[in-house]
C-alpha cells in the first residue's frame, strides 16, 4: 500500500471518530432528557411518546434504510397489543413475557406479510401490505378474544421479573424507557452493521446490488421482519401503558399516522422519527383540549411540511449543518 492510501485511511478513521463523538454527545443529551422527563411532564404522556417513537423508528428502518413503504404497520403494532393484553390479562403472564409474546407474534406476522409482498415494488408493495393489514383488522373486529368494539380493557401491568411493581408510574416509566432504548439501539446497530450497508446499497440501486451477487429480496425480508418485530414491541408496550388494546391500534389510520410521524421528523435519519412522534403526539393531546378538528390541523401541518421542508425537521437540520460546515 502506498503512503497516500495510508493517509486516506487515517482521514477515513478520523472522520468516523468525529461522527462518533457527536453522536455520543447527542445520545447522552437524549438519555438525560429521557431520565428527567417524568419529573417535568406527565409520565403517561411521555410513555405514549416513547411507544410511538419506537413504532416510528421501526417503520423508518424499513422506508428510510430499505426504501420500502409499508402501509400496513398498524397490523404489527395493534396485533402485538392484542396478544400482549390477552397474555397478561387472560393467561396471567408476567409483563416481560407478555410483551415478548406480542413482539414475537409480530415477527411471525411480518415474515408472512413480507413473504407475500417483498417481490412487489413501490405502490404494489404498499397496496399488498395495506390489504393484509385490513385482514388483520377484520380479524380483530370479529374474533372473540379481542373483544370487538370494546377491545381488551383493564389489562394488568403486573410485576416486572416478579420484583418491580409496574403500577407505580415511575417504575413503569423507566421500564418503557428501557424498552425504547433497547429498540433504538437495535435499530442503530442494524443501520451501522454489515447488513445495514447492504440494505443501503439496495435502497440506492437495487439492480446493481443484484449484479454484485446479493439476493436482495432476502435482505429486504429480514429488514421487514425486524421492522415488524420492533413495531410489535412498541404496540405491546403501549397495551401495558394504557392497560388497553383496541381497534384504534390496528386500523389503517394508525399505519397512516406512523408514515406522517416519520416524514415529519425526517425519513432516513435516526432521530427524525423520535422528533416526529413527539410532535404529533404532543399536538394531538394539545388539540384534544380545544375545539379545533384534530385531523384537519395535523393534515394541514403535513401539507406545509411536504411543501416547505421535504427532508423533515431533522433532515433539514442536518442538511443545514452540512451546508454551514462546507
Amino acid at each position: 500500500m502506498t503512503a497516500e492510501t495510508h493517509k486516506m485511511t487515517t482521514v477515513a478513521v478520523r472522520q468516523t471518530s468525529e461522527d462518533t463523538t457527536r453522536r455520543t454527545l447527542l445520545l447522552a443529551a437524549g438519555l438525560a432528557v429521557g431520565l428527567a422527563a417524568p419529573f417535568v411532564l406527565y409520565p403517561v404522556f411521555v410513555m405514549k411518546v416513547l411507544c410511538f417513537a419506537l413504532f416510528a423508528c421501526a417503520f423508518n428502518l424499513l422506508i428510510g434504510f430499505a426504501g420500502l413503504l409499508s402501509f400496513g404497520h398498524a397490523a404489527f403494532f395493534g396485533g402485538a397489543a392484542y396478544i400482549t393484553a390477552h397474555a397478561a390479562k387472560v393467561w396471567g403472564l408476567p409483563p416481560e413475557l407478555s410483551i415478548l409474546l406480542g413482539a414475537g407474534f409480530s415477527a411471525v406476522l411480518g415474515l408472512a406479510f413480507g413473504a407475500l409482498a417483498i417481490r412487489r415494488q413501490g405502490i404494489y408493495f404498499a397496496m399488498i401490505t395495506l390489504a393484509l393489514a385490513q385482514m388483520v383488522f377484520f380479524l380483530a373486529l370479529q374474533l372473540k378474544f379481542t373483544g370487538g368494539e370494546d377491545g381488551i380493557q383493564g389489562v394488568p401491568r403486573g410485576q416486572l421479573f416478579g420484583l418491580f411493581d409496574l403500577n407505580q408510574p415511575l417504575v413503569m416509566y423507566y421500564f418503557v424507557l428501557a424498552i425504547f432504548l433497547f429498540g433504538f439501539a437495535l435499530i442503530w446497530r442494524t443501520v451501522h452493521s454489515p447488513f445495514g450497508q447492504v440494505l443501503k446499497a439496495i435502497r440506492e440501486n437495487e439492480p446493481r446490488a443484484i449484479s454484485l451477487g446479493y439476493r436482495t429480496e432476502r435482505y429486504k425480508l429480514l429488514a421487514f421482519v425486524l421492522s415488524a418485530s420492533l413495531a410489535g414491541l412498541a404496540g405491546g408496550t403501549k397495551a401495558l401503558v394504557f392497560q388497553l388494546a383496541s381497534l384504534t391500534d390496528v386500523q389503517w389510520q394508525m399505519s397512516g399516522e406512523v408514515v406522517l410521524m416519520t416524514l415529519l421528523g425526517g425519513m432516513g435519519t435516526l432521530f427524525g422519527p423520535v422528533v416526529g412522534a413527539a410532535l404529533v403526539v404532543t399536538l394531538e393531546s394539545y388539540l384534544a383540549g380545544t375545539n379545533l378538528p384534530v385531523p384537519v390541523v395535523i393534515g394541514a401541518i403535513f401539507v406545509v411540511c411536504v411543501l416547505l421542508f421535504r427532508r423533515g425537521i431533522v433532515g433539514e437540520l442536518q442538511a443545514f449543518l452540512a451546508r454551514r460546515k462546507s
Binding site: M1, E4, M8, V11, S193, F195, E204, N205, L212, R215
Partner: protein
C-alpha cells in the same frame, strides 16, 4: 464444445408482446478475450446483455457458462458464479462514499452480510483492499466523497473498481464509454485493457471505432440478429456492416456512426 469457450448463447430469442427484439442469436465468448457486441440503436445489444446476465428471461434458447446451463438461474446467482455485469447508466450507490461503494462488493464473500448485530467496524479491515482498488482507477483523492459528487467519467471508474472487487472471471460492461468526453474515453479504454488480464470481458458498444483497438472479437447485431463476427479488420470491411451504420460505405464513417 471446446474448452476455451467460457460463455455461450444458443438460439437465444426474446419477444416482447409480438415484437422480436432478439432472434436466434448464437454467441461464443472465448476465455481471456475482450469481446465487443456492437450495433446501431435498437439492434438488441442491451437485450442480449440482459438475457446473458439473467436480468431478462429468454423466450427461447439456452445460455451456457463454463459448459453449465444457466438459463433458469437468478441474476444474483449468476454473479456468484463469477460473471458480473455493469449497467448503461452509471451504477453506483450515490449516497454511499466511494470507499463504501467498493466495500459493499468486498464484504459479500465474507458471509456476514445478514449480521445486523455486528458493528460496521467489523468491515474496516476491508479498507486496505478497497483503497487499493480505488487507487487502481485513480480515485484515491475521492475516497471519502459520496459517489453522487463524482463527475460522470469517474462514476464509471468507480463502477469498474466495484466490479473488480468481486474479482470476476467474466466482466460484462454495458456501454462503458457512453456519454464520456474524449479524454475520459482514452483513460477508461486503457483501464479496461489493463483489467482484462486473466479475465474475459464482454462489452456492449454503440460505436465501432471505440472498440476497434480494444477488442479481439467483434459481433455486430442488427434488428436482433447477428450480422457479422470477427476481428475489427474483417468486420469493418463487411459491406453489410457499413450498410447497417447509416448506409455509409466507407470504414471511416462507420467509426463515427
Amino acid at each position: 464444445m471446446s474448452e476455451d469457450i467460457i460463455l455461450e448463447a444458443r438460439g437465444l430469442s426474446k419477444e416482447f408482446k409480438g415484437f422480436i427484439a432478439v432472434k436466434e442469436v448464437n454467441l461464443q465468448v472465448r476465455r481471456g478475450t475482450i469481446h465487443a457486441l456492437i450495433g446501431p440503436n435498437g439492434a438488441g445489444k442491451s437485450t442480449v446483455f440482459n438475457l446473458l446476465t439473467k436480468f431478462l428471461t429468454p423466450t427461447r434458447g439456452q445460455i451456457l457458462y463454463k459448459g453449465r446451463d444457466i438459463t433458469g438461474m437468478k441474476p444474483a446467482d449468476v454473479a456468484l458464479l463469477g460473471m458480473v455485469r455493469s449497467f448503461q447508466i452509471s451504477a453506483v450507490f450515490p449516497h454511499l462514499s466511494v470507499l463504501e461503494n467498493v466495500r459493499v462488493a468486498l464484504q459479500r464473500p465474507r458471509g456476514t452480510s445478514f449480521h445486523f448485530w455486528k458493528p460496521e467496524a467489523s468491515l474496516y479491515d476491508l479498507h486496505d483492499r478497497a483503497l487499493e482498488l480505488i487507487e487502481a482507477v485513480n480515485l484515491t483523492p475521492w475516497a471519502n466523497h459520496t459517489a453522487a459528487e463524482l463527475p460522470y467519467g469517474r462514476k464509471r471508474a468507480l463502477e469498474i473498481a466495484t466490479t473488480l472487487a468481486l474479482d470476476p472471471e467474466v466482466m460484462l460492461l454495458d456501454e462503458p464509454l457512453a456519454g464520456m468526453g474524449h479524454e475520459d474515453i482514452e483513460g477508461t479504454a486503457a483501464l479496461i485493457k489493463r483489467v482484462s488480464a486473466n479475465r474475459t470481458i464482454l462489452m456492449v458498444e454503440h460505436n465501432l471505432s471505440v472498440v476497434a483497438h480494444l477488442s479481439d472479437t467483434i459481433t455486430v447485431l442488427r434488428r436482433g440478429e447477428i450480422l457479422a463476427e470477427g476481428p475489427y479488420d474483417v468486420v469493418s470491411r463487411n459491406p453489410q456492416v457499413m450498410e447497417a451504420y447509416m448506409g455509409s460505405t466507407t470504414a471511416g464513417e462507420v467509426g463515427h456512426a
